[in-house]
Amino acid sequence: MMDPEVKKQRMLEKSLRMPVNNVVLEVQKGTIDINDLFKHIELKVKEKING
């Protein structure tokens, strides 16, 4: 959770902005897949076991 005091201050600053020919972006969600990390760990363990 974000620090509530910092968030409150930043939200206030955001609310004071004025739009000028405003463009709204379409942002793609960011997904982090940690499967690759687990596969890497598995490989390293196997390497260690097999010498």
Binding site: K14, M18, I32
Partner: protein, 131 residues
């Protein structure tokens, strides 16, 4: 072989972002370095068209992917003044205090004009559970 991770582990990663991101930038082309995401286009290797120093987050909460997946929402960043005209296609989260580029995502390409404003709607960062 089954794999698992406790939600606390993923929350720690998301919490790192929530605690440290102090700059959100709209970029033209992919930023891969701190300078790309912190300097305006036309200055050195900068790619920034617009930026805000008021990024906020809501979360973390359970992710859409089920299991122990977790996500946090990067809150809407409304009406940021465009500093440099260009084609916006990436959003970067930066930790200026440590000169680190922490996270980059894409957005549908949109032309921006200097001195107009741009809004980054709320979007999610999710870390999936291992399968």
């Amino acid at each position: 072989m089954a794999k698992s991770v406790h939600a606390n582990v993923l929350d720690a990663a998301l919490q790192y972002l929530e605690t440290n991101v102090d700059w959100i930038a709209v970029c033209e082309t992919e930023p891969t370095t701190y300078e790309h995401a912190h300097s305006n286009k036309g200055v050195g290797t900068g790619k920034v068209l617009a930026h805000s120093i008021t990024p906020t987050f809501t979360g973390p909460v359970g992710g859409d992917g089920g299991g122990t997946s977790r996500k946090t929402a990067v809150d809407e960043e409304p009406t940021i003044t465009v500093d440099v005209s260009g084609d916006a296609d990436h959003i970067a989260l930066v930790f200026v205090g440590s000169t680190l580029l922490l996270y980059v995502t894409t957005c549908t390409l949109q032309p921006l004009v200097a001195l107009n404003t741009v809004t980054i709607p709320s979007w999610d960062i999710e870390i999936g559970s291992p399968t």
